[in-house]
Amino acid sequence: MSEKVLMKGNEAIAEAAIIAGCRHYFGYPITPQTEIAAYMAKRMPKIGGTFLQAESEIAAINMVYGVSAAGKRVMTSSSSPGVALKSEGLSYLAGADLPALVVNVQRGGPGLGGIQPSQSDYFQATRGGGHGDFHMIVLAPASVQEMAEFTVKGFELADQYRMTAMILADGTMGQMMEPVSLDLAVSPMPEKPWATTGTRMKRPHNIVNSLYLVPEVLERSNFERYERYRTIEEREAMYEEYRMEDAEICIAAFGIAARVSKNAINEARAEGIRVGMIRPKTLWPFPSAPFRAAADRVKAMISVELSMGQMIEDVRLATECRVPVSLCNRVGGMIPEPEQILAAIREAAKTGGNKQ
């Protein structure tokens, strides 16, 4: 492994994007992700890339649409209220089957909300993120190293499946510094014969489009897209299991919530409580299989979230409600402390979980 450097999560995303071959970044300032734009503004001009501060989030995502249509790796980043503005573009990217990387360093909401960390855009990210039937691949890093690795992975998956990949991080992940290895393997970009790069008078014209006025045709395009989604669900779900071997209580948590949960799990283990964690690294596709398997072994699950309980729905769907799943959460920019999670673990150990 190459020498590690200390970097903020946001900076790791930016540098990893450059390593992945991204030379076009468009964005609009918003806390707590502005370091990504600042990093790109510094680096892009020096490597022949384009950094452009767009007039709005809406313009930024449409600039992404343009570069992607022209066949190049491109990204934008924002935080919750800004991602909401981008949702129009996310839907068009899906409708036109264009690859892109979008980063959401979440902050508390709804509305203008606050600027402290949150995970309350889970529904928005995993249920499509705009109008119409579609999905994005949603990657949830829990370390600065993963901020870098998932950025590369995101570009690769986006190109492979011709869709948007989203990094769903939060203010903590964006702002924290950890040692990171930037020795990142990048697979070559696939051919993009569909791209609008000019016909060179050598082929019929390409059209990048999401308009289908004939319903039968639009239906077919939806069916085909969901065929692709099925493949992704089969192949691309990623997760980490932590101390699950003999666990009788299973925590479900991602991102910063998983980091805090690890502390609580270790404290609970010291008390003799057999608790472990399944940490989804992809939120869509959701890693249902390990949860389904765990449901046969554990007596309770706890979903630890920085939201009013969003991922918990996927945990319940995955386990078909065969075990009680309780929620342990803080919201609005607050982060659960290990003590709160420990209390939830003790409670679950005592009662077998809160039936809800």
């Binding site: 200390l6 702002q175 924290m176 510094m177 980091r259 502390n263 270790n266 402390e337």
Partner: protein, 177 residues
């Protein structure tokens, strides 16, 4: 030491985040597991600033320090806020130029350092933070000129290379404070 959790706190502009970064780089260069997490807010200068620093042998779980082993408080509001959070048996380093009250806790070790005064008396008025860091390293028995210089090189950008000497001086001052 297995894992040590530091909380640096004070006004924005006092170099709170910088002091934390220095500790993290130093830990990383010594092969430790580290993390650094700043508080971030709308205010750029003058508001409260803090950062969580974890240095240890185990992979870092939560990067958020809520129960510090070591608290650095460089102003009264920070001291008021975080003094109760220090773990029993923990250590507090406070800037006694700016914090006049006495500690309320008796189960922690407190070092009162007139860092702001020392810094201005010695012609390095912006480096009270590093005087305190020098003291911490001295107390923890971790002050080594070579290590300290290596870490400083990492945190001080090439643009500010002329600040190397002053930072070293501040750290040394701290060891005697």
């Amino acid at each position: 030491m297995s894992t040590m959790q530091f909380l640096f706190s004070g006004f924005g502009g006092q170099g709170i985040l910088f002091a934390g970064k220095f500790m993290v780089y130093k830990g990383m260069l010594e092969g430790k597991q580290v993390s650094w997490l700043p508080s971030y807010g709308p205010e750029m200068r003058g508001g409260t600033a803090s950062c969580s620093v974890i240095v240890g042998d185990e992979p870092v779980g939560s990067p958020i320090v809520t129960r510090p082993d070591v608290l650095v408080a460089m102003n009264l509001p920070s001291f008021d806020r975080y003094e109760p959070a220090v773990v029993p048996g923990g250590t507090v380093f406070l800037d006694s130029t700016l914090i006049s009250r006495k500690p309320a806790r008796s189960d922690v070790t407190v070092y009162e350092i007139p860092a702001t005064k020392l810094a201005s008396d010695n012609g390095i008025p912006t480096l009270a933070n590093m005087i305190i860091v020098g003291k911490i390293l001295h107390v923890l028995g971790q002050f080594d000129e070579g290590d300290v210089e290596a870490a400083l090189k990492k945190v001080i950008s090439a643009k500010h290379a002329d600040m190397m000497e002053a930072n070293l001086r501040a750290l040394r001052l701290g060891t005697q404070a």
